[in-house]
Symmetry: C2
Subunit: 116 residues, 2 copies
């Protein structure tokens, strides 16, 4: 029997999984791999203004280690490396999509973010 889904209790235990998405750039990166898109390292660098090489590489390494992103290396000169979502990463797409739609809804709610 599969575990019954209850929002009330579900919060206990998902922290560990949620932590995999922590990090300033992870969600941004994932959005750019949305939909099964395949990106090269340099593509992501251009697509994400403000990110440093170190951060891009580091967050990609972590996403890879966590089984969310897959890396494919083409042994050639100059090097070519492609990133895509793993099956589990793909499963995250609906959540990303919902998150995206929420973000876009912001303006539909008057006086939502009064400023910080």
């Amino acid at each position: 029997m599969r575990k019954v889904y209850t929002p009330a209790t579900a919060a206990n235990g998902v922290e560990h999984v949620l932590k995999l998405l922590e990090g300033r750039w992870k969600l941004i990166i994932l959005f750019h791999l949305f939909d099964g898109k395949v990106r090269r390292y340099s593509d992501l660098e251009k697509l994400i203004p403000g990110i440093s090489q170190k951060m891009l590489a580091q967050q990609l390494r972590q996403l890879e280690a966590d089984g969310i992103v897959a890396r494919k290396i083409y042994p050639q000169v100059p090097p070519k490396v492609e990133y895509r979502l793993t099956p589990w990463g793909q499963a995250l797409c609906p959540a990303l999509d919902t998150l995206l739609k929420w973000a876009e809804q912001k303006d539909d709610f008057p006086s939502s973010a009064p400023a910080r």
Copy 2:
């Protein structure tokens, strides 16, 4: 005419909204306010093991300032303060729900997280 939704371009510009969810405890807190639930400060403190008063208060302040969480103070002794989601915060629930389901799917994907 409303903006057309395209995952490819949508990633540009949502960063700002996504940042509102950054912070080690924010998602956890939101999960405990899921579904229109109303929680007192002390409730959240008990529900979230490991969080410090400072962090709980700080993240709540930020979520409040960002229009995601609403605070209601009962002027009485001893003090009583309730937290709930704002309408915009409520709109986030579907996304939280999808995220939760993704987290629970983890075991369905063999060799997902090989360890770090």
